[in-house]
Symmetry: C2
Subunit: 321 residues, 2 copies
Amino acid sequence: MFELIKAARKRIQGYANRTPIMTSRTLNELVGAEVFLKCENFQRVGAFKFRGAFNAISQLTDEQRSRGIITYSSGNHAQAVALVGRLLGVRTKVVMPTDAPLTKRKATEGYGATVIDYDPEETEREEMAKVLKSEHGYTLIPPYDHRDIIAGQGTAALEVFEELKTLDMMLVPCGGGGLLSGSAIACKGMEPACRIVGIEPELADDATRSFHTKTLHSVKNPSTIADGTRTPSLGKLTFPLVLQYVDAMKTVSEAAIVKAVQFLFYRMKLVVEPSGALGLAALLSGAVPAAGRVGVIVSGGNIDGATLWSILNTGSEKESA
Amino acid sequence: MFELIKAARKRIQGYANRTPIMTSRTLNELVGAEVFLKCENFQRVGAFKFRGAFNAISQLTDEQRSRGIITYSSGNHAQAVALVGRLLGVRTKVVMPTDAPLTKRKATEGYGATVIDYDPEETEREEMAKVLKSEHGYTLIPPYDHRDIIAGQGTAALEVFEELKTLDMMLVPCGGGGLLSGSAIACKGMEPACRIVGIEPELADDATRSFHTKTLHSVKNPSTIADGTRTPSLGKLTFPLVLQYVDAMKTVSEAAIVKAVQFLFYRMKLVVEPSGALGLAALLSGAVPAAGRVGVIVSGGNIDGATLWSILNTGSEKESA
């Protein structure tokens, strides 16, 4: 798989942004380590998802491209697939629940995709996508459980190691496990001694339980603010990869996520969505003790103003900021 | 003066951040030019003000340092002087109006400065600072009208030219004119053909009027959201420098500033205060026609959550983002 990540790295060059790594003296003093934030909130469509989508879709045959692609997502993956479809001239359908936020639907349509509604009370989105796929011959680009998606997501960590050379630990948010398993493979390929830790919200701790019990656990519509991690479980491909390459899984509270988003906003002037702040939340809350050189994947920055304001308006940081 | 900026550049090295230059494909397509944002929101204390404060205070004699320093400001300059005072072990007093926001007072005190209150209805802050200066022997570090402050502020533009080599135009926010005159001197020293344009809010257009009439105009407590530009007028030093080195002055509406802050938040994931968004506001609104390679100084990112939310909640961008 490491070779696939290196190949993906070449494939996305010139299309994906090589995102900057940001640091903060205040942060380093607070946690007692050197922390490096890989800012995928500055990636195209505002999240790492562009990497996997481009890597997967750019490898389709002319025949597949002419038939079009389909995916299911109401989040960053939908926008990534829609943008890559536009860039590569491939017609794109996105299966989205009727209750998806209007802003996400509009953003996806804004990139030129056709949104197909389904009623989440009545239909499973994967089923819906599969029916359409077999009816129309679309190629399905799933959000995480796909070899080329995983390889693409691993390129962010690869860039971190290319730039920083050595790291003692890397923290990666975990939803469906595409970013985490890709990052872990890149990490062990570049620097086997670097410890790789996946971070989940306590409220959506399915991957942590799966990791510890070596049996796949799932959650259903967890109420975490980290909406990127609300996926029900790791996938058929990502679960074994996480077991093989990841050193530890840790969870963080909702309060810790709130504080991390506040810190990123007030101290670092970065717009980061709650899922993207999981790694920093683990460091700031002490869920993961920091030491040495620590890389953190900040996975995305797609947050609407009202949600950010409700986070900034929570707790005590707002008064001291 | 250009030599002073180059000397300041060496002096601040290792203390000030070399801030990144950010770009956006979406932005370039929108305005039809290559735009480079020099992100001083990522500077220490969240604004370019650290540069001038460090350059000025680090040049004080041991005698001056032991007596302490004083300044007047309720904004970013106060925090910059307070932090530099702490870094260099110099006691710092900041004269602040009794009605200054609690967050700004706390941030200034957080860096170790002593805040001295004055009633803005009864006293002029400059007068207050001068009295304390002569009573106690403090050295006054004014917010903009000071050779070493201007030279320090010019280092941001110097870094832009070092990194990008050629630019056709550079846009710089204008309050008291310290950043603008420093940037203009750096620009003409590095690349005389580059056009330098100062940007003000329409509601605080004193420098624009002064520039066009060659007579110093002032404003009193203008109601612009760009609080960093609420200074009454250019200074004794900055006014002639602006006349000599700046090519044009342009103003932007409050609505244009709002849209620029929204764009920076939603599309670029950058936290930028209204004053810091003036240059981008001029490009997006067409107040300054864009062409070729355009540098923009994004001067700072110190904005509280409530103010940002009121900006994000204004107009139409929020619906389409």
